[in-house]
């Protein structure tokens, strides 16, 4: 009996490492959120005063609002494009056997594994070579490029567990390919699609480095955050950062609601 109790309350070396890692994962996020309410314009310890004035300032800032709009616009289109292309490809990769399948399934992951800076300058060179003007469109194209592999990875893990005989049962009962998709496959994979949509949106929403190279005159949120960081510390950075964090966290919450996060890994 004693032994059991002992075991339960013993904190091992493993626990210490875990606690340490988790604290340091959360620390930066906490610091930012906390100091967005600080009344001083520099980061001082201990925190002095509580204010919402920086929030007011940010929300009245035209630059911020337009960047937010752009980020949302880009995020939505990116997630639509990458979900369509990625899910179709994932169906092919999980349902059919064909030549060079292994090679193809590794190749499609390349855009995810190459350093972002190289992807960014490649795309910049490409657009400039073809004299395509930089705009939000070039940003969307570039973001979708690295989001597609994520969609494929996640959808593969979902579709491998999908019982193909359910789809065959639908066809057996008289559904043609379109009806089988509409009434059976789509409703079953819908939660995964919602999850992937949120994740791709979050990826696009946070992307900085590639955007930095391929964006034209307009701004996305990370671009204005970067601009502010380079210009020096301003308390409004904390506010914008907090808003960005809150949006990302909400997305992950939604993902978790629709599809168990664990199944994505």
């Amino acid at each position: 009996m004693n032994k059991i109790v002992n075991r339960r309350f013993k904190i091992s070396f493993l626990d210490i490492i875990n606690i340490f890692v988790i604290i340091f994962l959360m620390l930066p996020i906490m610091v930012i959120i906390l100091y967005s309410f600080s009344s001083t314009s520099t980061t001082v310890f201990p925190l002095e005063g509580f204010t919402m004035k920086w929030y007011k300032e940010v929300l009245e800032n035209r630059l911020f609002i337009s960047a937010l709009k752009n980020s949302v616009y880009v995020g939505i289109l990116v997630s639509l494009i990458s979900i369509i292309i990625g899910t179709l490809a994932s169906f092919a990769l999980t349902r059919y056997r064909f030549k060079f399948k292994n090679i193809i399934s590794t190749t499609v992951l390349f855009p995810m594994t190459i350093p972002a800076i190289i992807l960014g300058i490649s795309l910049l060179s490409f657009f400039s070579y073809l004299e395509i003007p930089l705009s939000l469109l070039t940003v969307i194209i570039s973001h979708a490029l690295f989001c597609i592999p994520f969609v494929i990875l996640i959808m593969n893990s979902q579709l491998i567990g999908f019982d193909v005989s359910v789809e065959e049962a639908a066809m057996d009962l008289g559904a043609n390919a379109i009806q089988a998709f509409r009434y059976v496959i789509f409703p079953i994979i819908r939660p995964s699609l919602v999850g992937v949509m949120m994740i791709t949106f979050a990826l696009s929403f946070d992307e900085f480095l590639i955007t930095f190279f391929v964006i034209g005159r307009q701004n996305t949120l990370p671009i204005i955050i970067w601009g502010m960081l380079r210009r020096g510390v301003s308390p409004t950075i904390n506010v914008i950062s907090t808003l960005v964090l809150v949006i990302s966290m909400t997305l992950i919450l939604i993902v978790n609601r629709y599809a168990k996060i664990k199944t994505f890994m």
Binding site: P115, I117, I118
Partner: protein, 282 residues
Amino acid sequence: MKKRNKHIYLLSPLYIYLILFFFAPIFILFIYSFWLKSSSGFIHTFTLQNYIKIFSNPLYLTVIRNSILIGLVTAVICVLASYPVAYAIAFKYKKLQDVILYIILISLFSSYLVRVYAWRIILGRYGLINQILIYLKLIKEPLTFFLYSPTSVIITLVFILIPFTILPIYSSLTNISIDLHEAAADLGANKFKTFFKVTLPLSKSGVTSGFIFSFVLATGDYVTPQLVGGTQGLMIGRIISDQFGMAFNWPFGSSLAYFTLFLIVLTVNLFIWIVKILKIGR
């Protein structure tokens, strides 16, 4: 028959997209690396001059070497620190599993730029660590050893990238069934033996991909060195990007990018080869 080729229809949007916006761009970048810069634009020629230039100025080689070293150290620390975490989530914390995974995911998906910036607030000369230490009267003058140096870059990169190593290791560990552990224990292996003979070899794939992920991302990082690295922490990303910005020497930037990419791929393959010949656990 008709069914046979269905996969091609499903894959063709992806193929088109990748060829147009991935393979074509990296190919064009490759072409650029053989051009030259002139006062009016770029000269479309074929010369190795840009690559020769990399070797002629020790600055470039030093920065590339430092970047790769920082990447390697970061990746090693990431793997070493995330293994216990992944192991504990997979086998020890049954109840806390979801919560910890959730925290890791939040961290992974919360803005990378913001997190790097937060580390600057924490680590800076008048950052939170120094302020707290002074407040607690543990020190009089700010500590400086972790400021604006490769060390601060590595600390920051580790905490930014650790989710990328925890997750693959975790998922490779969850593929190991508890049965295997029990079987090993049954056959008289003690905890350490079980770990080295069973757990570690089977999680090799997770460790490998976690290492590769964190190494590539760290080596090519652009934001961290600029925000927390100071002049000592200069990394290759900055130099490449400057060629596409102020210096306006795209051809040279392209050759730097290709040379760095070559070294990264080489290092990754070297790592895979080492893992193979080590034959961990056999």
